[in-house]
Symmetry: C2
Subunit: 420 residues, 2 copies
């Protein structure tokens, strides 16, 4: 007997509605999906006052509950942020349709013509935290690629999410798509997240959007496949052949441009034969970064704080950098293989043979030569947007945008072929 | 404290060795991997007597234990079967290298050149049953795509698998690849399978090869991603516009060519307006197939047995076919969506608009027009081989061969770009 009030019953009911909507989306035209997102953007703009009112309720409640200022800032909306949400949805509307694309096609000797054609994944669950913009961002990317979405945002943003979701689905319906294409889990019961993670019959993919504890919980509990990254323990290796000015610029940008994003450098590896390690350390320190060095670095740059063993495995997301001297590119690669998280790692080098050696052997989702790790972003990669960055090894890696939200099917066109 | 004898400790130790071997494989040349498989094929041929001796031990033990004749046949090797195993490995050696292939490349406005390049997945676990040939087949495909393999075959084939595995790794080592590239779980303890399924830190992908109960267990228990299909409940829909002779040939081939394979038709859907449903039923019956019809069919073809509700959800893998009359292509699609398993479904139709309607809307991994469902096979699809057929929606669908055993990484080549 199903408990009609159980979270699993709720998610199953939402999942069935989503499956129906996904079938409609899968055969909808590019024009209709694009129009639906344009309408959703319009509806979000038109609902600005209602969204801000709802957000004020969330913010007041969160403030009274003593939410940290950084969390309050993520939660808070204003005119500009609502416009940003609407503009992002409109930008996704303008992206190139991934569906129906023929990946490859071949005619077999018996005349059977086989093609692989991009189709939507189906039903995608998004689990996120306090940022209300994810409600619209994630929904837009899912719908653009023909997927139905089941959204579960943070409890502290529930009123904002409801208002954004209502406007968004108004836009979908105005363009003739089903409202069930994007559903918001109505309850703030945490058990609903567990029910989503277990709903492998109803949800094809879960994408967590948020901090490490959320991602860790999702990865630990999910029966549904998960697209995510847990850590961005990213390295920049400065080779002996590196141009010193370029190395300085890349190291500063990789660490200090924004310290809190997943593409930020956390560990700097410097070739023992690089001419000026102290210059790189001084540049970081002058930019306000705390440097924690290994023994060899500290011998070279007296007064540097000591890195503990745990430092090499730490994603600081802050103005702190662990720095080690290494004996060339292979020692750097060994360090990255041991301590990295497979997210984004870079080499700065003028010697192309050393650089290509690094690019071929570094096993991370994104490997860069003479460029900052902070480029790890779907927009910067020319994908138009991103639903997240994946460090797993299956389906999609690195920045995931519309293509990563699709799969393919085989279509065979024959003239009566039998296997015989 | 780790129990040194626990299956999880064994799998962790094997997983670490596999990870090291995978790193070597990932940067090995195409020529070396191809040579290693050619050497492995030679070594299998040279070890024929030893393999047959080992197999005789397995067969005698299984016979004494009362193994069913069909299982004994799967287990039993002879000269021709050993030659077949070696020839299959040699054929995989000759396949085109999937690694290093540039999927796409683009230069960003800032000059950063971004490419997606095919790389191996890493460590692949294969869990299989009594067929000893899987030991060599699966290992060959994994190694060809640069992956290390951890193999866990059936208890009843352990001596055969050991002999095949020893010859195979002799070939790898002779070509300069590490023996740990292909490891055989040495114990027949069933808990070792559980340990593999839980080893998400050490194994990147599990591929079960065997019957439904094995696949169901793997899918239910695995923390590691799984590539597989559970059922092949495949449909052929015969449209009113179908050529009657073509329909007859395809229906007979799809059902009766081999009834025990996953690509066999299990349900025949006939358009009420098709001229000759009784002819199709008679053709099946004359070929020795038991027909179970819905009420409408039984009214049209008196004496046909009645299909129970469970028949529409049954993979017979036998000379039995459920048959229903439907009111056109949309009713056929609704039946497939409700009862199908997403494996392979076909339409027979002369009207291209009806056929394309079906091809676009049927959501299965393989959708065919005017061709037999028994083409669902990597060899028939021109992939050279297959590690299995996947009905999941992520990573790879339908027949999975070398490309499905790879992933990609992003490589960016810059000239000092910073995000700024």
């Amino acid at each position: 007997m199903l408990d009609p009030d159980a979270p699993s019953t709720l998610i199953a009911r939402m999942g069935e509605a989503a499956r129906g909507a996904a079938a409609t989306l899968a055969i909808s035209s590019d024009a209709r999906r694009a129009a639906a997102l344009a309408r959703a953007a319009d509806a979000l703009r038109a609902a600005r006052a209602r969204i801000l009112d709802a957000n004020a309720v969330d913010v007041a409640r969160a403030d009274a509950a003593g939410l940290a200022p950084a969390m309050l800032d993520r939660l808070r909306l204003d005119d500009a942020r609502v416009e940003g949400i609407a503009a992002a949805v409109a930008a996704v509307a303008a992206l190139h349709d991934p569906l129906g694309q023929v990946i490859d096609t071949a005619t077999r000797p018996n005349g059977l013509v086989l093609s692989r054609v991009r189709v939507p994944i189906g039903v995608i669950g998004i689990v996120y935290e306090s940022r209300p913009n994810v409600t619209a961002d994630a929904a837009a990317l899912c719908v653009r690629a023909g997927n139905a979405a089941i959204l579960r945002g943070g409890t502290e943003a529930i009123e904002s999410n409801r208002a954004i979701h209502a406007a968004f689905t108004d836009g979908l319906v105005a363009a003739g798509l089903p409202a069930e294409a994007v559903q918001l889990v109505p309850t703030t019961d945490r058990a609903a997240v567990g029910a989503m993670l277990a709903a492998d019959a109803h949800i094809d993919l879960i994408i967590p959007r948020g901090g490490k504890s959320l991602v860790a919980r999702v990865q630990a509990e999910a029966r549904v496949p998960v697209l995510a990254h847990l850590d961005g323990i990213n390295h920049v290796y400065v080779d002996a052949s590196a141009d010193a000015d370029m190395a300085r610029a890349i190291v500063l940008d990789a660490k200090m441009r924004r310290t809190g994003i997943c593409g930020a450098m956390e560990t700097l590896l410097i070739d023992r034969d690089f001419a000026r390690p102290p210059m790189l350390v001084a540049a970081l320190q002058q930019a306000g970064c705390e440097v924690r060095g290994d023994q060899a670095l500290r011998a070279l740059v007296p007064g540097t704080a000591a890195a503990e063993p745990a430092d090499w495995d730490t994603e600081y997301l802050d103005a702190i950098c662990s720095v080690a001297l290494v004996g060339g590119v292979d020692e750097a690669l060994a360090h990255v293989a041991r301590h990295g998280s497979g997210h984004t790692d870079a080499i700065v080098a003028s010697n192309p043979r050393v650089a290509e050696h690094f690019l071929a052997r570094c096993d991370s989702a994104i490997v860069l030569w003479n460029a900052s790790t902070q480029f790890a972003d779907g927009g910067e990669f020319g994908l138009g947007a991103e639903i997240g960055i994946a460090t797993g090894r299956l389906h999609a890696r690195g920045p995931v945008a519309l293509e990563g939200l699709t799969t393919y099917k085989w279509i065979g066109r024959g003239s009566g072929q039998v296997r015989g």
